[in-house]
Structures are given as C-alpha cells and as structure tokens.
C-alpha cells in the first residue's frame, strides 16, 4: 500500500475493496450515446429514454454551481468516470444467490444481520444496480411495493411515469440533470392508503470500483394516512482517485401521511457526494429528514420539503462531521406554501483537523401562507484552530402572521469540560469522544438504536489520536 493510499484510508474502516468483477462495464466518459445505451440495456420505455436525453442535454449546457466549494467542484473530471457498471446479472431475493465476493462485502457491513433482526425490507445496491432485494411477506400482502428503481419502472411503469421528476425536475440543478440522464438503481417504495409500516426498510449503497459514478434514483410515495421509515446507508472503498455519488431522492407524502427518511452517509474521503433530496408534503402530512454526513470529500446536500397542504409539517435534523480534507456543505430548505404549516430545523456540525463545514439553509414563507411557524437552530462545534465553520441562512418571510425563530451558535470544546472529564478517568481522546457524541445526541437519539451505537463508535474512532 502506498503512503498516499494509507494517508487517505486513515481510520476509515469500510475502505476495503473487492476485485472488480463486472458483467457489463461502460467505457469512461459521458455522451448522449452512453445515455441511450444505458436506457437500451435496461430495456426502458421510450418516454424514459427521452427524459434521459433531455436531461443530458441540459446537463451539458448547465454551468457548474458558482457557489459552495467551487475549487473542489471544478476538479471533478466527468470524462474520467465510469457511468454504468453491472456486477451481477440479476437482483437476487436470497443472499445465497448473490455472488460470493459481493455477499461478503455486505456481510462485513452487517446488512444481512440487520435485516434479520429489525428491518422490514432491504435493497442492497452494488455499483450501478441492486444485487439483492427483499421485503417481508406481511408488508407485501398489505400492498406495500418496495423494489429497486429499475424493477419499479418495469413493473409499475404508470406509477413511475406519474411521479418521476415531479418533485425534482431534471432542470433543477446540474447534478439532478446528470442523475436523470444516467440514473440506475435506487429504491421505489409505495405505501398504500392507511398502511403503517412498523419496521424500517433499508437501502444500502456500496461503491466498489475506482472512478465509479453511482447515480441512484429513489422515489417514495406514501399514500393517504400511511406511515413509513426508510433508512439509507452508504460506504465506499478508499482510493486515491475520486468517485462520484450523485443521487436524486423524491418523496411524496399524501394527505395525513408520514415519511421519515434517515441517512448515515459514511463515504470514504475520495467520494464527491452531490445529492438532491426533496419532499412534497400535502395536507396534514409530515416529512422528516434525519440526515447524517460523516464521510466524503465534498458533500453538497440540502434536504428540502415543500409544504403544499395546510397543516403539513417538516422536520429536518442533520449533522455533519468534517475531518481532514473534507468539506460538508449541508443544510435544509423548507418552503411554506400553505397556511398553518410548521417546520423545525436542527443542524449540528463538527469541524476538525482542518475540515470545513457549512450550513446553507433556506426558509421561505409565501405571502398567502398565513399562520406558519418555524424554528431553525444551527450549532457548530470547532475542535481545533485550522478548522472552519460557516453559516449561510436565507429567510424569505412573506407575511406578518407567521412566527419564526432562528438560533445559531459556534462553540469550542472548553478546557473546563476536558479537565472535568479527565479528572474522572477519561483520556483526552475519550473525553473529546464523549463531548462530540453528546453534541450529536439530539440527532443520534432519532436513529434506530443499531445505527446510533454504530455512529457513536465511529465518532469515538475519529477522535482517537486526534490530540497532540
């Protein structure tokens, strides 16, 4: 292993990789032909091919965002990325049928074990497509549809056609255009009216190949009065060259429905993570984004909610950890488009070893949306001198009957806290770990227990050997 690679891997425990065995692998680079080839390979209906091509043209014309970390963004070499890689010829329903090396990877990530213990369904995506997919029978019997997106398009083309791109049009931004052009995999989840899914369903995204582009597309529709908790995890090997993960996630919560979407993103520090996540909440619906960003080189992600129906509610709880060489540019956007809608945004970030975290938020209340309430809290913790934290909040309040609160704080770990904990037997690293876990606690307590434990361990590892 070269020193450079060692440097990049550091303590990242998911940095291992399998041999790259692919059944189909496109040459690097992007063209209209690549887009058409992906669509043809997947045997898609004509309308989807057209959407892809249109999106591709928009992508080529659209300039890079001129905000955020432009230096890093402009370093992305779109010609040096593999846009499609199939590693298994089909999506299996039994782990025994998944190719051994891929199954081993998911074993090491603990997915089959978690599935047995506490999940209602699992999709495991490896490179461009799902290699495993399963849902509990009782959920299937209640009419819950949980498929990888490719299968969703094949089996429910009308449903997909009706909702695909309605929340995030391809022209929304450069990366939503890219995703729409080359999307592959992701989840398609439909919860019928009145059905409450008690156990979380999970999707796990794994990149294995070098210079890989993963462009999953997720669409979740919760019909009237239904409830679902969807959990997403992701990791990648540590390489000295970059990979790109650019997903689009669209959520639709019908009247009275509730969707909770939890993510713990733990990409290796060579991955660009540029994701568009947006939800529509209809009358009295609730959408909750629980969004954790621990890994990646650059993350730009601002989970959004359009509160379209009266009485709808949005909750965005996010944490970001920016370590060495990392920039977490994250935040939340909530649009109050109807009266008496409410929202809570809690954002917490930690910067360490020269890492940089930025909070970018938008809160909009349209003039006609009266009686809205919103609370935004942003807390940043900076652990050492060279690290950085910035806040870019935007508020557009169109009327005077709405009530908005905004609190922001930037703090450092106090020497009194460290001394207190050390006087109780904790080493300085352990003390830091406790303080950091405590700081993220409002987030971790919202996660399923297994994830919370894992996240705490992860953060403790990050604190190890951190203090000179």
């Amino acid at each position: 292993m070269s020193d450079e690679t060692q440097e990049i891997i550091g303590d990242y425990r998911y940095g291992f990789h399998d041999p790259e065995n692919s059944t189909i692998r496109f040459d690097k680079g992007l063209s209209e032909q690549v887009v058409r080839d992906i669509s043809e390979l997947k045997d898609e209906p004509e309308w989807m091919t057209e959407i892809r091509v249109k999106a591709f043209r928009h992508f080529t014309e659209r300039v890079m965002p001129e905000w955020g970390n432009c230096d890093l963004l402009n370093m992305i070499d779109f010609e040096n990325i593999t846009y499609f890689l199939r590693s298994s010829d089909q999506t299996e329903k039994s782990w025994d049928d998944v190719p051994d090396d891929i199954k081993n990877t998911f074993d090491r990530l603990g997915i089959p074990e978690a599935e047995q213990k506490w999940l209602g369904g699992v999709t495991a995506q490896y490179e461009s497509e799902a290699v495993y997919h399963s849902i509990r029978e009782d959920l299937e019997e209640q009419g819950v549809i949980f498929l990888d997106m490719d299968s969703g398009l094949k089996q429910y083309p009308e449903l997909v056609k009706k909702y695909f791109g309605t929340v995030i049009p391809h022209s929304d931004n450069k990366f939503s255009a890219l995703n729409t052009a080359v999307w592959s995999g992701g989840s398609f989840l439909y919860i019928p009216k009145g059905v409450s899914v008690e156990m979380p369903v999970q999707a796990y995204f794994r990149i294995n190949a070098k210079n890989m582009g993963q462009f999953e597309r997720t669409l979740i529709i919760a019909d009237e009065g239904s409830t679902v908790h969807y959990v997403e995890g992701c990791t990648a090997p540590s390489y000295s060259t970059d990979s790109l993960h650019s997903a689009v996630v669209e959520l639709i919560a019908m009247e009275g429905a509730k969707i909770r979407y939890s993510t713990v993103q733990n990409w290796s520090s060579n991955v660009y993570n540029l994701v568009t996540k947006r939800a529509v909440a209809h009358k009295n619906a609730t959408v909750e984004w629980v969004d954790g960003n621990i890994g990646s080189k650059l993350t730009m992600k601002y989970p959004s909610v359009l509160l379209k129906g009266e009485g709808a509610h949005a909750e965005v709880i996010s944490v970001a950890y920016a370590g060495k060489g990392q920039h977490q540019d994250t935040g939340a956007k909530v649009h109050h488009l109807a009266s008496n809608t409410t929202s809570n945004i809690l954002s917490k970030s930690i910067s360490k070893d020269g890492g940089r975290s930025s909070y970018r938020g938008l809160l909009q209340v349209t003039p006609k949306s009266t009686g809205c309430r919103s609370k935004v809290v942003c807390d940043a913790l900076i652990l050492d001198g060279g690290s950085r934290s910035d806040t870019y909040p935007t508020m557009e309040i169109g009327n005077s009957t709405s009530d908005l609160e905004h609190e922001a704080s930037v703090s450092k770990v106090s020497s009194d806290q460290l001394f207190y904990l050390m006087s109780r037997g904790f080493t300085e690293d352990e003390a830091m770990g406790l303080i950091v876990n405590g700081f993220f606690e409002p987030f971790t307590r919202e996660l399923p227990m297994e994830y919370a434990v894992e996240l705490n361990k992860l953060l403790e590892l990050e604190m190890e050997g951190s203090i000179g």
């Binding site: 050390m422 006087s423 109780r424 037997g425 904790f426 352990e430 406790l434 876990n437 405590g438 606690e441």
Partner: protein
Amino acid sequence: MGERMVDEILRVENLHVSVEGTPILNGVNLIINRGEIHAVMGRNGAGKSTLANVVMGHPAYVITEGSIFYKGQPLEELEVFERARAGMFLSFQYPASIPGVQVGTFLKKSVASVRDEPPKGRAFRKELNAAMEQLSMDKSFLSRYVNDGFSGGEKKRLEILQMLLLQPHLALLDETDSGLDIDALRIVAQGINEVAVNSGCLIITHYQRLLDLVKPDFVHAMIDGVIVRTGGPELALRLEDKGYEWLDVAA
C-alpha cells in the same frame, strides 16, 4: 518504614503555583495520611481552590517551585486521567456541564475507566441504586445530561455520587458545601464520612457548618497562598467567630 509510607496519601512540599504569570500559592506544605480529614479555610482568593486544582493537575496552573507526591510518587509524572485512575478525586466547585451525555452513561464509563475491576451490568446498577438512595437522588437523574441545567445542589450531589462510586484514596472537596440546604448538607456529609474512613480527605470550605458534620483532624488557615496556622477543629470555630484579621497580624 513501609507502614508509614503506605499511609501517606498526599505530601505537598514548598509549593509555589502561578496562573497566567500571577503567583497564587507561595510555599504550601501539607501532609495527608490515610484516614485523616484536613480542612483548608481562608478568604476568597487565598488560593484554596488553586491547591485542589493543582493537585488534580489542572493545565492552567503552573508549578514554579516545590513538589507534590501522591503515595510517594511525584505527581508531575501523571496525566490528569492517570491521577484519577490512581485513586485521586476532585469534587468541583463549579462542575462543567456535558450536554448530550447522560449521567447514567457517564457514570458507567467513568467507573469502568477508574476502577480496576469495575462491576458489570446488574452489579453496577445495584451499586448505583444503593448510592443514589443514600444521597436521596431520584432515578430520573440518570437520563439527564451531565450537570446540564442542574441546580447548584444537584451538581454537588452528583459530585458526591461520583465520589461514592469511584472510591478514591484521596478526595479533594472544593466548596462542596456551598449552595446546599441543611438537609442536603447532612446527606453529603454522610457520603464524605463514608469515603473518609479509608482515604485521605481535603475539604475546602468557608464555613463551619460542614465541619460540624464532618469532623476534621486538622484545620489549616490559608492567607495569600500560604498556610499560616494549623490546628484542630477548634481553629475552625475560632475562624468562624473572629475572621482572619488576627492571623494577618500574627503572620
């Protein structure tokens, strides 16, 4: 000679300490043996808290001259957490709050890192319950965040709870009595008396009232960073009654 050495818990020799260049302690001498309770009294700013903090290893306090020995070992060799693991304990005058960290988790981890054979699972809970009962602490304490939003009295109780669980050989109690009502004071005193049987105890206080409940073997009066007079319990009564002026003159 072995007998004597084992019983010596703390020895402070000609200790001079500065904070940000300002001298605070100007030659303190003190020996505490196992089973002894020492009280240090003095006005605000006399250097009492500095003494407790420098013994525990607070990084802001710089020893400019003199030495501290714990069980015969020079303390400069030990990091703060190593002092805790060796059996030293400081009950803070103003304990720091650690938001997001639950008291229960904190206590368990702290006991696990300090005690050689920490009790596990049920045994720990049993011990914890007994100690909390003794201090009249409600179980709801365990799910609150460490010192976060605690009243002064609650903070002091949590300090004493930690002392009971960590079973120190040297207990430094920095104004543990301040902010306590008389019932709480009685409960806290009981906790101190229990620990004091097998350890050396240094109690820093302004008031006689704790010393009515925890009988000191030695009382030291500190002025301007020096111990100017040492006596028995009667010295505390005299200081309470007459203040420190007569000592100023004597010094």
